[in-house]
C-alpha cells in the first residue's frame, strides 16, 4: 500500500490459516509461551477447561503480519490490542485494519480479529508513520 491509497475508511484484511493443534504446538515452541492451556488438553481438563485454546499473541502476530504486509515495519509506531474472546482450537480468524484518520504524517488504524461466526477475539489500534 502507498500513502496515496490511505484514506479514512480504507480496510486491509488478512485471512489467517486454521489454527490447528499443530499450529498451537509450533507457536508454543517458537514464541516460548509453553502455557499448557494452549497445548495440553489433559492439563486443561484437570482445571475444568474443556479444550486447548489459541494463544492471543498468535492472533496478534497475524495482525502484525497484516501491518508489515502493508507498511514498512519501522514505520509502525504503536500497536495495541485487547483480547476480547478466546480463540478456540481449529478456528479460522480474519484480521482487519481500518484506517480511521490520516494526519500529521501518521495513519491511525482500528484493528479487529474475528471468527467466521462474527465473534470478535481481538480489538485494538495501531499508529503508522507515513513517508
Amino acid at each position: 500500500m502507498i500513502a496515496a491509497d490511505l484514506a479514512p475508511g480504507a480496510v486491509l484484511s488478512l485471512e489467517c490459516p486454521t489454527i490447528t493443534r499443530t499450529a498451537l504446538a509450533l507457536y508454543a515452541g517458537a514464541s516460548g509461551d509453553h502455557n499448557p492451556v494452549h497445548i495440553d488438553i489433559d492439563a486443561c481438563r484437570a482445571v475444568g477447561i474443556d479444550d486447548v485454546f489459541a494463544h492471543g499473541m498468535l492472533s496478534m502476530a497475524y495482525l502484525g503480519r497484516l501491518l508489515t504486509d502493508s507498511f514498512p515495519q519501522q514505520s509502525v509506531r504503536s500497536f495495541e490490542v485487547r483480547f476480547t474472546a478466546i480463540t478456540p482450537v481449529n478456528a479460522s480468524p480474519t484480521c482487519h485494519a481500518t484506517v480511521t484518520d490520516v494526519e500529521d504524517g501518521h495513519a491511525h488504524l482500528d484493528l479487529s480479529v474475528q471468527l467466521p461466526d462474527g465473534t470478535e477475539t481481538l480489538r485494538g489500534r495501531a499508529v503508522v508513520s507515513l513517508p
Binding site: 507457536y27 516460548g32 492451556v37 498468535l58 502476530a61 515495519q73 500497536f79 495495541e80 483480547f83
Partner: protein
C-alpha cells in the same frame, strides 16, 4: 484470590538476551510469515535491514524467556492455567534486529479487581533497551480468573 497490591512498583532484575536468526525463522514459520525479509538475510539486506528484523510482537516472546517471569506468577501462588492475557501494547522507538543483545526489565504498574473480585488484573510495563537506549516499551495485562467460574 486477591493479588497482593504490594507488588505494584516491584521490578524484575534486568535480563539480556539475543534474538537469534534461527528462532526468528521458526517464529516466521509458526505465524505463517512468508515475506523473505523475515527469514533470508540477503532479502533483509536488499530491503535495507542490517539483519533479519525482529517482527512486531516478537519482543514479547523474548521477554517470556526471562527466567524471572515464571516465578513471578508462582511466587504469587497463581497457576498459569488460571490466567488469560487481557491486553498487550507495544510502543516502538527504534527497530531491533537479529544478533543484537536486548535488555528487558519489567515493573508492575497496577493491580485491579474486576467483577467483584472474580477477576484480578495485573498490569506490567516492560522496557526493552539496546546499548542503554530504550527501543520499545511493552504493556501487558494478565487476567487471573477462576477457571471453574462461568466463562
Amino acid at each position: 484470590m486477591p493479588v497482593d497490591r504490594s507488588i505494584i512498583g516491584s521490578r524484575t532484575p534486568a535480563f539480556s538476551t539475543v534474538a537469534e536468526r534461527g528462532r526468528l525463522r521458526f517464529f516466521a514459520q509458526a505465524t505463517g510469515q512468508t515475506d523473505p525479509v523475515y527469514t533470508d538475510v540477503a532479502a533483509a539486506a536488499e530491503a535495507g535491514h542490517p539483519d533479519l528484523p525482529v517482527p512486531p510482537t516478537f519482543l514479547f516472546c523474548l521477554e517470556m524467556d526471562n527466567p524471572a517471569r515464571g516465578s513471578f506468577l508462582s511466587d504469587l501462588g497463581i497457576d498459569v492455567r488460571t490466567i488469560l492475557h487481557g491486553g498487550q501494547s507495544f510502543r516502538y522507538h527504534a527497530p531491533a534486529y537479529a544478533g543484537e543483545t536486548l535488555t528487558f526489565w519489567t515493573e508492575v504498574a497496577d493491580v485491579q479487581s474486576k467483577k467483584g473480585g472474580a477477576l484480578e488484573l495485573i498490569v506490567r510495563d516492560t522496557h526493552v533497551e539496546r546499548d542503554g537506549a530504550e527501543i520499545a516499551t511493552l504493556t501487558g495485562t494478565i487476567v487471573v480468573r477462576d477457571p471453574r467460574a462461568g466463562r
